[in-house]
């Protein structure tokens, strides 16, 4: 039996089961929780690092931010919050923007923004770590 005929014998309930109104299942729901849990210890660590860096000059700040442990914490923080931000803002857009074209453009822009800001921040950390 080919795949197409398998699709045809699926009941409508079977086709939508687990996919819901978003047609993508619980993927976003789960990833939002996963990144939320990761964000908690990372945020606490980042806040402590920020307080440590207050009032220091560029050389000291660069040295601390570029040190392996701090740099890795910052990179994990950037990755986790940007993934979290992307899903969160998409939910806000889907809640308030009902025009299909505008919604499409905003969701696309949301992806561009979160990846761009995340990569820019990560670039800063890599530059500090590798001294390039």
């Amino acid at each position: 039996m080919s795949e197409t005929s398998l699709k045809h014998i699926q009941t409508p309930l079977g086709r939508v089961r687990g996919h819901g109104a978003a047609h993508s299942g619980t993927g976003h729901f789960w990833r939002q929780r996963l990144t939320a849990v990761a964000n908690i210890p990372l945020t606490i660590a980042v806040v402590i690092i920020m307080v440590m860096l207050l009032g220091r000059n560029q050389a000291a700040a660069a040295q601390i931010l570029g040190s392996p442990l701090v740099a890795i914490i910052m990179l994990l923080f950037i990755t986790s919050i940007c993934a979290h931000m992307r899903i969160g803002m998409q939910v806000i857009i889907e809640d308030y923007v009902h025009d299909e074209i505008a919604k499409f453009i905003l969701i696309m822009g949301n992806t561009f923004f979160t990846i761009a800001v995340g990569l820019a921040a990560a670039y800063g950390i890599f530059k500090l770590s590798f001294g390039v």
């Binding site: 908690i40 307080v51 560029q58 803002m89 800063g124 950390i125 500090l128």
Partner: protein, 136 residues
């Protein structure tokens, strides 16, 4: 059904203004607003890293901004939003397990979220300003 009257002006399904504003409702809105604020606040985080990586001149610009009244206000708001959203997130994770949804618990969690975030933000700023030798 001979006489067909014009439809009476019946109320539509209740919208936001119908409901009494409750603390849990406000904390729900605050969670979304702080989340959106943090979204754009990430630009500051990226600026901070890039400024530190660019050298003393670039870092001086960031420090000038961070030390200005507007900069301080934005950073204070960012700190509060970060902590409020984090504690709100913990509240949501508790709810995800099916716990803390009773009427009393909901109110308590909402109040703890607000009081905790304000207290922790003030504490952090006091510690921060003291360790850097007071306001410059």
């Amino acid at each position: 059904m001979a006489e067909t009257k014009a439809p009476a002006a019946r109320p539509l399904s209740p919208h936001l203004q119908i409901y009494r504003l409750t603390l849990t409702m406000m904390m729900s809105i605050a969670h979304r607003i702080t989340g959106a604020g943090l979204y754009f606040g990430t630009l500051l985080l990226a600026w901070w890293f890039l400024a530190a990586a660019s050298g003393p001149t670039g870092y001086a610009k960031f420090e000038w901004f961070a030390g200005s009244i507007i900069g301080r206000l934005i950073l204070f708001g960012y700190t509060w939003a970060l902590i409020h959203h984090m504690l709100g997130g913990v509240r949501h994770l508790i709810w995800d397990t099916g716990r803390g949804l009773g009427p009393g618990e909901r109110e308590w969690l909402a109040a703890a979220n607000l009081v905790g975030s304000i207290a922790m933000t003030i504490l952090l700023w006091v510690v921060g300003l003291l360790t850097m030798g007071g306001p410059r």
